[in-house]
């Protein structure tokens, strides 16, 4: 379960970074002294984001029109013994004008116990979809697409449980992931939650094929389910895909997208269906400069008028061009323009224009990269 403390709510962002770095530098030398030869690795990842609204927006967002450390994450990881590895991370979030300090991840894992298998136990980001499997500071853009935010939360779904991944014994890559987590809460919340009628359970079937010596495409099929205390039943069906085309050390072209369908059945047996997706295409000029564009779409399939009871066709879409300058793999700067428009019955309900800036950097060790 996530432990959260509302810490120093009145404290500004700068003080937060100072606080974290102070903790880091106080803790680390002690560890280094005590942990000789243990192979413990540690790092700090900071994610500084500035958002600037170009127009009055109906969206209430406390992080708007200011620059904040969206997240400062402290990570400790390494071998626990000859069988197990461990990872503990905690993060400070800036939310609603306050700073929250929370346990982000704490899990024990092994890939040495059962052949072709990986087992993870503890608190972690669920191994589904694409974005949900990566820390936000490792994403190729600044903020979550609309669909991800609505279905899996702005950062991702994290919970406590058990995850098992098995590589099928066939000549190509096919990995089957199955997980169960407590499901007391779902998505980002500062509540303790309550015992669900059916815990969160999820599965992903991931496959991959090389397209050439320097390119490949990954495909994932996902399902997640949960039945809340009040009887509300959530089901998510998702498809994720990522293609990378490398040229030497340059990621020449990245194409990444996800498509999710959500079925939400209320305790009174009303079914709400939503469909959301994004596709992101990014071109790399060299190993430093990247330019990408993301298209988001979100559709409430079952939205009806409160007055007439008629179906109301609607769509929210977004266009997000993003420029990235990567000084190295440890430091990146991004600039993005976000345009969102919600349309209902062929009329524009609202539009939102904003500019986002990001600086992310990593101090200390960084684990090897995934595809």
């Amino acid at each position: 379960m996530t432990t959260r403390h509302k810490l120093m709510p009145m404290l500004g962002g700068g003080a937060l970074v100072v606080f974290f770095l102070a903790v880091f530098f106080l803790v680390v030398p002690t560890l280094a002294n005590a942990g000789d030869g243990s192979g413990l690795q540690y790092s700090v990842a900071a994610d500084i984001v500035g958002k600037l609204g170009l127009k009055e927006s109906p969206v209430t967002d406390s992080t708007r029109d200011r620059i904040i450390p969206r997240e400062v994450e402290l990570m400790f990881y390494g071998a626990i013994d000859h069988r197990f590895d461990g990872m503990v991370s905690s993060a400070a979030h800036f939310e609603g004008g306050a700073v929250f300090f929370e346990l982000h991840e704490a899990y024990i894992k092994t890939s040495k116990l059962i052949p072709r298998s990986r087992i993870k136990l503890g608190s972690y980001f669920l191994g589904i979809g694409r974005l949900n499997r990566f820390h936000r500071h490792d994403w190729p853009f600044i903020s979550a697409p609309k669909s991800h935010e609505n279905f899996l939360d702005a950062e991702g779904v994290q919970d406590t449980g058990l995850e098992y991944a098995w590589l099928l014994p066939i000549p190509f890559y096919l990995e089957w992931t199955l997980g169960f987590t407590s499901g007391f809460t779902f998505g980002h919340t500062h509540e303790a939650g309550s015992r669900p009628r059916m815990p969160t359970h999820y599965t992903r079937l991931g496959t991959y094929t090389d397209l050439s010596d320097e390119s490949g495409i990954e495909l994932g099929f996902n399902y997640l389910g949960r039945k809340a205390t009040n009887g509300e039943r959530l089901r998510l069906f998702g498809l994720d895909s990522t293609a990378k085309f490398m040229s030497g050390k340059t990621l020449r072209w990245l194409l990444q997208g996800e498509l999710w369908l959500r079925h939400l059945r209320s305790s009174t047996n009303l079914l709400q269906k939503d469909l959301g997706s994004y596709i992101y295409s990014q071109y790399g000029f060299n190993k430093n400069w990247f330019l990408g564009i993301r298209f988001d779409a979100f559709n409430e399939l079952t939205r009806t008028s409160a007055l007439t009871g008629q179906r109301e066709k609607n769509i929210t879409y977004g266009i997000v061009p993003t420029a990235t300058y990567a000084s190295s793999e440890f430091s990146k700067f991004r600039l993005a323009y976000n345009y969102y428009e919600e349309r209902e019955l062929s009329e524009t309900k609202f539009t939102d224009h904003r500019i986002e800036l990001q600086s992310t950097f990593i101090l200390g060790a960084h684990p090897a990269h995934d595809f």
Binding site: R118, L167, Y208, F330
Partner: protein, 309 residues
């Protein structure tokens, strides 16, 4: 559902019977290592490189196809010395194959215990670029270093497959003498055409061991910080120094930024040449001896017209 279960069961049993009859499965990261492994394992093993020979080994993605291959491997050989640090640990972990993970009996790091060049004596931090803190890991272009790496490999091979250890030892001795002969031949050829100590500038220090093996001299790298393209100031400085100290050529790997190499070559008024670092299938350097010959021939062709005007 029953059908799916049946299929899975069939696949499982197939893979088990296959494993019993099949040859030893050896994976290597680079093609130079796979050539070496195949020489020693002979017909007792199937050796497959993860890379093809075109890639820049420093910057690789932990592709799921690597993970799939690693899950079936009996041995996985890497260069080590930090070269594959950015991606290989992920492949090993995700393979779920305990045997090829650190301290498993099929875990094999060929660079362990070799005579490392360019040892770093200063304290390393990230402001120094992608510096190799354990010294220069690009040893595979030196036959002498490869022989040493070879002995690491034989050790692992004999542990994983002890019944054939005599065979592997014999293969090792054969390969060792072949590599020594190759080295002597290339050395003779190079010393006949190029002056001893001929200075050559590299983009990244990938050819240093080759020069070391054949009495040539690396005049350093164009990069100031490894992995970071040199600034205009650095380019001018390196080029002028090269000119002043009698450097004969500027060489680089195919994935190095050619514009920079051209610029250095133009300022220093020295020829430049792009050379392969790894064995590659379907090329004229599809084996290690051919790669060595190719490198020597290309160097002579680039430098010689100047030496004898």
């Amino acid at each position: 559902m029953m059908k799916i279960m049946k299929t899975i069961f069939l696949m499982l049993s197939l893979s088990i019977t296959n494993a019993a009859e099949a040859k030893l499965q050896i994976l290597t990261t680079t093609t130079n290592l796979s050539w070496l492994a195949q020489q020693i394992a002979g017909d007792k093993a199937e050796v497959v490189p993860l890379l093809t020979g075109v890639e820049d080994v420093h910057y690789i993605n932990a592709k799921p196809s690597f993970i799939s291959k690693a899950s079936n491997a009996d041995i996985l050989c890497s260069v080590g010395l930090g070269l594959e640090l950015g991606w290989l640990p992920k492949v090993l972990e995700k393979s779920g194959n305990a045997q090829i993970q650190p301290r498993g009996k099929g875990y094999c790091v060929l660079g362990e215990g070799i005579d490392v060049l360019d040892k770093v004596t200063k304290k390393v931090d990230r402001s120094m670029g992608d510096v190799h803190p354990e010294g220069n890991p690009h040893f595979s272009l030196s036959p002498d270093h490869l022989i040493k790496a070879d002995s690491n490999f034989v050790g692992v091979l004999a542990t994983v497959d002890p019944t054939n250890s005599d065979y592997y030892l014999a293969q090792y001795k054969k390969t060792k003498s072949e590599l020594q002969q190759l080295r002597d031949r290339i050395r003779k050829e190079l010393s006949a055409k190029l002056e001893k100590g001929t200075k050559i500038l590299e983009y990244h220090k990938e050819f240093t061991y080759f020069f070391h093996a054949y009495g040539l001299h690396s005049a350093g790298s164009m990069e100031e910080l490894p992995g970071v393209p040199p600034s205009a100031g650095r380019i001018a400085k390196v080029a002028l120094k090269a000119k002043a100290t009698g450097v004969k050529a500027a060489i680089s790997a195919p994935y190095s930024p050619q514009k920079i190499v051209q610029r250095v070559s133009a300022i220093a008024k020295i020829p430049s040449v792009v050379l392969p670092v790894h064995v590659r299938a379907n090329t004229e350097y599809n084996s290690y001896p051919k790669l060595q010959k190719h490198l020597a021939a290309k160097l002579i062709k680039t430098i010689k017209p100047q030496v004898q005007p």
